[in-house]
Amino acid sequence: MTTPVLQAEGLTKTWGGVRAVDGVSFALAPGEMLALIGPNGAGKSTLFNLLNGQVRADAGRVRLAGDDVTGLPPRKLWRRGVGRTFQITATFASLSVAENVRLALLSHHRRVFSFLRPSGDLFAEEAKELLDRVGMAAQLQKACGVLAYGDLKRVELAMALANRPRLLLMDEPTAGMAPEARQALMAQTAAIAQAEKIAVLFTEHDMDVVFGHAARVMVLDRGRLIAEGAPEAVRADPRVRESYLGKQG
């Protein structure tokens, strides 16, 4: 069996007496697309932040390709090949689209602490290629501060891909987008992930997106994983139906 890209072992986090994440363990194989779903307040965001280094776990381990990375800050996880997108897009508003991606590339190639060389043309080609893959090559010179929301999501994706990640963590990748745009973005993501053998873990509210693109689905409820498996199996799971999808069946 190959080493999982990402492995959580008994992750636990308590917020003021409430167990937001309670002994969660799972593994993610290379190139796999895994969706994390659950009702509001199930602990998805906390679990996500435990995995991406933003929040420190009370107990449990996180392994990246077998290495223990528990407690590493986000910037060190990026160095180990983790790309991220945010629920509310985070890009550099005063920088152009190209500069945003070029900076991610500069960081990846450890060229940030260069003080005298103009940054103008460094990694311009690579940045253009990345932006081309997410369909943003036409807006290279626009400042991120003036982009449409859906386009910002695409720029984020391009930045997340700049370090040739083995794992993409996407928190609500399609939140705030129109339905058609959602499907397009996720189809794009899936295609790239498949081509590059990138494992993707994403949280999502839109069930069409989840069942349309995830190879496997995990369901979180009150901090615990209550089901996981192929989308169809999860959809049919009575516990999932009860806690999450509602009892309409």
Binding site: K76, T91, F92, S107, H108, V112
Partner: protein
Amino acid sequence: MAFDWQGLVVQGLNGLASASSLFLVASGLTVIFGVSRIVNFAHGSLYMLGAYLAWTLTAHGPFAELGGFWGFWGAILSAALTVAALGALVEMLVLRRLYQAPELFQLLATFALVLIVQDVALLLWGPDDKFGPRAPLLRGATEIFGARFPLYELFLIAVGPVVLGLLWLLLHRSRFGILLRAATHDREMVAALGVDQKRLFTGVFALGAGLAGLGGALQIPREAVTLHMDMAVIVEAFVVVVIGGLGSLGGAALAALIIGELHAFGILVFPRITLVLVFLVMAVVLVLRPQGLLGRGAATAPVAAPAPPLPGPMPGPLRWAAIAAAVALVGVAPFLGDYPLILLADFSVLVLFAASLHLIMGPGGMASFGHAAYFGAGAYAAALLFKHLAAPMEVGLIAAPFAAGLVGLLFGWFCVRLSGVYAAMLTLAFAQIAWSISFQWVEVTGGDNGILGVWPSGWARGRLVFFYLSLALSAAGVLLLRRIIRAPFGLALRAQRDSPLRAEAIGLDGFLLRWIAFAVSAALAGLAGALFAYGKGSVFPSFLGIPRSVDALLMVLLGGVQTLTGPIVGAIAYAGLQEQLARLTDCWRLVLGVVILALVLFFPRGLAGAFRRRDA
């Protein structure tokens, strides 16, 4: 030897009396900040006005005729009420237009008020110190443990807690107070509930100003009324408010107590470093508990406005005009007299100083209220090398940036961890520590007398050569900054300002980026400081003083923080304006203040922004 209990008790009481006065001013400042998020630089001016008005009212007019108990207290209270009314007026005329503006612009506006009030006070009351009457019934002294202690000081000790109590009642038992507390907590929510914000804000300003006025008025029996009261008290009040926690009344009281007693006992225990002590305490508090002792949550509000995209290059004609002007300057210089050459050398130095501050304020997204610390560090490095090692100018100019850069590394390591107003205040605290050292460590720095005879080497002693030298080094410094901003490092620096979250997620270490920028900025400010020292032939503690830090801040803000052109234009405009006004009129502060107000109100993007195309 018997321990001097008497002395300690008296010192303790003295501490309480100054804590009480300090609390009056600081409480007004903190109440205003809590609701309006405005750091009111002019609060010390309101305090000074309170003192002057009280002096006038006790000496002239109906209260003076009335005399006695009612005459005195009527005058004190009327002075406080007049200042409250002035505060309301200022809020309605100026600050109301600036609530949406970046914090630093609000600060700039209130600093303009400081300048205006200084000259108005000079015009109305003249340069001489004023001595007020002593308070009726409180003239004498009482015996405490066998030591005589003035009754008025005892009265002042009581005023603090009484005012705190009244404020507490006002805040917790009146509709106005409840709205005020609600607005401190969540301004948007209060607005959404349909509360008339305008009246609330005006009321808060009147309240805060009245407290400052009262604090000032109450000083007239115990100390002379002078034109320096404003700056002296505002710095202390800032310290108190920051230590206590911005917006926290209880915090202000606690911090006033700490600072008051620290002054009283510090003089007994560490007579040599009393000035450093206060700011050291503030620095320690800010590092350990950034939100202040009783403050709720650290203020994370960014000081800079959400940065618009970098403007496009300077329009062609303007660019050529600038280059032509620079060439003309170099060509014309040999035909100029000594005085213009001295001025031009000063201007070059100020341009470099402002440009160095711009690196951390613009691309870095941090504010420094204490940039003079690094300017002064460079100047003193050069002067000390000269004094103790007889080092020539060439050595001094090379050593200065390194010395200032090291100081920047040290101070910056603390400062760049904080954000917003707190970071700004910490830079101010460190600058004051540096100033105190230069002022109090007389053996090494010469104290107030400074270090004299720091002249350039023989070849550069001519005014013309020295101007060329200043121009060349400043230009080199500015070009270096320009390169840094355009290099990958500059890109990353702007990135961490725009989105700390995303910067971290692509592997950028925001702390490290800001720290390095801080040190680079300090080093270039140090070069400017050293040049300035050789130009003047001397260094003084004023090189590190607050006014010089404010100069730098004004130059950058006037020019606009978006581009490097901004601080250059700003420095020339500010220094030129100051110099011209000083020649034309005695009231240059008044005119400068009005000009700054006009600029802030009408050109919120700075002077350089006004000349640029709006699109990127």
